[in-house]
Amino acid sequence: MAPPRRRRTGQSRRAQYGRFATYVVAVGGVVISLFLLALSVLDPRAFQAVRNLAIDVTAPISRAGSFVVSEVTSFSQSVGDYFEAGRQNGELRDRVRELEGQLTQAQAAQLENDRLRALLQLRDTTADEVAIGRLVNSSWDSARRYAILSAGSEQGVAYNMPVRAPEGLVGRVVTVGNWGARVLMIIDGASTVPVRSARDGTPALAVGTGDSELRVELIEVGTNPFRPGDMIVTSGVGGIYPPDIPVAEIVRIEGDFAIARPLAAPSRVDYAIVQPLYQPAAVPPSEGGSAPAEAPR
């Protein structure tokens, strides 16, 4: 049907003008929000103050409910375990046998490590933790992979600090409120973590794919040295992530890439540890570090 020729809302001038003004405001609003969006795309840290405030308001809501959900999740997990008990039993027995062998090797390696450390008089450079928080929520209806952590600047958390769980790396902080922080998880497409293979030290970059996996890209061109089952750990390059945090396990090889599954599955991680930047002097001030400005040539 063609639109009616006279689109007057009625005889009242006031109603007509009011309706017209609504459309002017709505179209203007779309233009302004596209402008705001362009600002956010050009500078992801735009409007930080407003968003920090929003985190503070919303984090307690997620925190209050997280207890209930973790109870429900663990219940369904135990029901599943009950039905798979037989098969799991066999698998676990094999695994224990395998691990006992590895344990002996590890103990030997540990002894040798201690000896060499003493020889070199190395300090144990385990970075201390800034804060411990709970991962209370993640974006479950958008393509980005953010999580909300229940610790903020009151606890000393700052922009770009690495976040890890006991199992492995979770991500880094991108928005800091007073009592909450938003974490960019390593599986987000915008996350890149410098890593190396734990077996032979091959350097690589672990890029998020947006679903539950990581794409491991080699830095040096050549044959792909990764094999399924290899562990990758952070390499410390870039100054944000401290070295030797476990990141992921390679699950398959795809040409020049390897696909890895994060060790700290974000859906099961409860508590996360925020660590300070590894080398603040290597990170530019705009990224939260304290690198000196480049000397003029």
């Binding site: 459309y23 609003g29 779309v30 969006l37 919303t58 209806d141 393509a143 980005r144």
Partner: protein
């Protein structure tokens, strides 16, 4: 149930219920995004958007297109989208629906669902493109399950809104 209000208080109650139920339920639906689950894949439907769309398709007269600006700002702040994303997308969907409604006289549930499918697809694709612009180059394929789930969730949300609407006007 007594449909005749007996006192000024009862009149006020019914008045506010009639006016506020759509906005309050939409805001609560947006807040559902804060539900404390941590997931690795985008699977859940954007319930806030579905509620907004459901109310808009059922009762075109309750909200001017500018209402979508306010709801969009709220959603951007709550869900961590770049500010302006939901504002721009939701308001342009409202404006497009206004344009369509002056041209199409016939209306039933299947038409509403059709409009909803187009709006949902546009919303998810545009949000994905914005994420790509912001340096998160994920494959669109992994949003297809979410797209399907959201489209199938619309009738359920619409049912809930019809119920709320009957309660609101009762």
């Amino acid at each position: 149930m007594n449909r005749i209000a007996g006192s000024t208080g009862a009149i006020l109650y019914h008045d506010y219920k009639r006016k506020l139920v759509p906005a309050v339920t939409t805001i609560l639906a947006v807040l559902l995004g804060l539900f404390p689950v941590v997931v690795t894949m985008p699977l859940g439907p954007d319930i806030g958007f579905l509620f907004l769309l459901g109310w808009r398709l059922l009762r075109p007269e309750i909200w001017p297109p500018t209402a979508a600006l306010a709801f969009g700002l709220f959603d951007d702040l709550v869900s961590g989208n770049p500010i302006g994303q939901s504002m721009a997308l939701w308001t342009s969907i409202f404006l497009a629906l206004d344009l369509i409604e002056t041209r199409v006289a016939y209306r039933d549930f299947w038409f509403d669902w059709l409009y909803a499918v187009v709006a949902i697809a546009f919303h998810i694709a545009a949000a994905w493109y914005i994420a790509v612009l912001m340096g998160s180059p994920t494959a669109f394929v992994q949003l297809l399950p979410q797209l399907g789930i959201t489209i199938l969730a619309y009738p359920i949300v619409a049912r809930m809104i019809y119920g709320l609407d009957r309660w609101r006007l009762a």
